[in-house]
């Protein structure tokens, strides 16, 4: 009876040991050696996140953007990711070597953001969209992130530490409660910089296959 008990426990252990090896350890070995590639201009792709973008990535994570947005482009002929202009090529493992934690996502309640920075380079667009998605995308179900901004009425003084260049004008027909201008706060600015920096369009050779 004891040997049967041990057999049961051992068998149970082996089933999970097998999948830990196959799906946790082996993929790590396979991708650990991946390095950035050198571009013609001497810079590299991809680059590690730092400064504002790193901080913005933290805001992206803490606001839970991943629950509605993916950051992965499926290959041509599988879905319509590229035809929807969400990307120019499929995503490959090298795109993600500096992603920690990964933000691939599994839901597209909103569009994919793998290359949102190349699609929407405008900081003003991102500010208005994050402040109130109805301004730029009427009918959107995205939440308002108004708490990432300081709201200003005409004649209000700039918040401490903000530059005149940070001020975003709300288009006249969409102004409410006399609020005419916005200034993104630290976290808002960082998130906008992160989103503007999302760009997986560089043609990696392995993505052409």
């Amino acid at each position: 009876m004891t040997s049967r008990n041990i057999g049961l426990a051992l068998g149970i252990f082996l089933t999970i040991a097998a999948s830990v090896t196959g799906l946790v350890i082996v993929p790590n070995w396979q991708f650990r050696e991946l390095q950035p590639v050198k571009k013609a201009d001497g810079t590299q792709y991809p680059v590690p996140y730092f400064g504002e973008q790193l901080k913005g990535r933290g805001v992206y994570i803490d606001q839970g953007c991943i629950y509605c947005h993916t950051q992965q482009i499926r290959m041509k002929g599988y879905g319509a990711d590229i035809r929807r202009n969400w990307g120019t090529r499929r995503s490959v493992p090298r795109d993600y070597i500096f992603e920690k934690p990964h933000q691939l996502g599994t839901q597209r309640t909103g569009p994919d953001l793998a290359s949102i920075g190349s699609r929407q380079p405008s900081a003003v667009w991102h500010a208005l969209h994050l402040y109130n998605p109805q301004i730029t995308s009427p009918g959107s179900t995205m939440p308002r992130f108004n708490y990432l901004f300081t709201e200003m009425k005409d004649g209000d003084a700039l918040p401490a530490g903000a530059f005149p260049a940070d001020v975003v004008k709300i288009p006249a027909p969409l102004q409410t409660n006399g609020i005419t201008q916005l200034v993104p706060n630290d976290r808002g600015k960082a998130l906008i910089e992160y989103l503007r920096g999302l760009n997986k369009t560089f043609p990696l050779p392995e993505a052409a296959q």
């Binding site: 008990n5 426990a9 068998g11 149970i12 252990f13 089933t15 999970i16 097998a18 999948s19 830990v20 196959g22 799906l23 946790v24 993929p27 790590n28 396979q30 991708f31 650990r32 991946l34 994570i61 803490d62 606001q63 839970g64 953007c65 991943i66 629950y67 509605c68 499926r74 599988y78 879905g79 319509a80 035809r83 929807r84 499929r90 995503s91 493992p93 795109d95 993600y96 070597i97 992603e99 920690k100 934690p101 990964h102 933000q103 691939l104 599994t106 839901q107 597209r108 309640t109 909103g110 569009p111 998605p133 009918g139 959107s140 179900t141 995205m142 939440p143 308002r144 992130f145 108004n146």
Partner: protein, 494 residues
Amino acid sequence: MSDTALELNPQGEAVSRIEVDQSAEWVVTIYWASSLFWLLMATLAGLISSAKLHSPDFLGGMEWLTFGRIRPVHWDTAIYGFGGTAASGTLLWLQARLCQTRIPFPKLLIAGGIIFNVGVLLGSIGVLMGQSTGVETLEFPLYAMPLLVIPYVFIVIANFRMYFTRRSSHTYVSQWYLMAVTIWFPILVVAAEASTNLGAVDGVAQAVANWWYGHNVVGLFATPTAIAAAYYLIPKVIGKPIHSYHLSLLGFWSNAIFYNWAGTHHLTGGPLPAWTITVGVVGSMMMFIPVITIGINHHMTMLGSFHLLKTSPTLRFAVMGSMVYTLASFQGSLESLRSHQEITHFTHYTIGHVHFGMYGFFAPLMFAMMYYAMPRLTGNEWSSARLIRIHFWCTLFGTALYAGAMCWAGIRQGQMMNDPAIPFLNIVAFTKPYLWLRTIAGLILFSGTIAFLINFIRIVQPHKLRFVTPTLLNTERDYKMLLKKESELKHNDK
């Protein structure tokens, strides 16, 4: 049928089963009471999330309640808060019954239950405050995780202790599943935390580890516990042995071998080498073997006893659970196929499937366990058959509406997304009515939970008197009369 006879509570008789149940009363009641608390919290968080998806200004503009925070709190309280404590209570009681032993270390286990609850609470507050790790299903900040893992170690120790000091001469199929859960779950959590939040693995390899865990926390924790419950309850209530011992053996080992590998289908089409996805698809398709064998075993055992569904609350929930297990598993296997995923991946279809499994299979089997065990643990009977009926129909219709609306909306959403001529915001507009249906389904499930909670609160209260017969679905119960007679008794004592 109306039955108003009362008798003195027989607790304290030196019968072996009663002895087991007495040793379990406090421990298991605390775990299950916690599970219902978290079910309520998870349902509320789910309702808020659901409402925000069709009415984004509902509780809008509040950072701690923004969709991206309340949504992970919904799932984490559901899987850890509700699932973790419901399954642990089930595991402890079932193992004690099947081993014919008392529950060991009751104080340690009660302390563990309290620590676990604190862990889920701290983790949820952390996520609402913006401290999420950003790894799906492992969102709880790192400081909360030891509070979830350490109590589970107590449960593992208690489980091994019971198993190896058992008085029964043979082992029953449910016990294999319970042994498996206690070996798998700690390894799962530790390996997943190490490879994601502790930073051992980056990039796409981390995504694979993440979904290995995300799928297995359901498949190697919730599912085996619920299957163990079904294997125990169905034969027990109808008084017939399980259909085939050999099938249960095949079902157990094929489930153990194949489920492990199924999780990577969550990354279909993603930036991963084909082999990782193929492994997940093969694992998912091979799941037909355990699903069919377990299905045959449960449904063939039921054959000829369906009339008992009219009266037994336990059986009704257990059979609903085992039937949805078959359906949801078939759905899940097919869903893993690349051609299916091309449409439904990234859509509400996945959400529909998860709820079909969790609320149609896992939760009903946990409810069935509670309906069966709570009268035995507390010595009281359920106070109202009507509340049980409300709970059942709300669970059935709520789940059906939820899964139906989300899966249909998901298929159309996916087809529209694959047609680049359709603007994205048109797809959002298309899904809105279905998202409203989801909120209604959530309200139905919420009502059922409230009905169960009322019954549960009444049964755990100490009673001097109890109903002589068990509460069946067609028994008319007069709880007010019981309370009245009790107060009269108290009055006479004075």
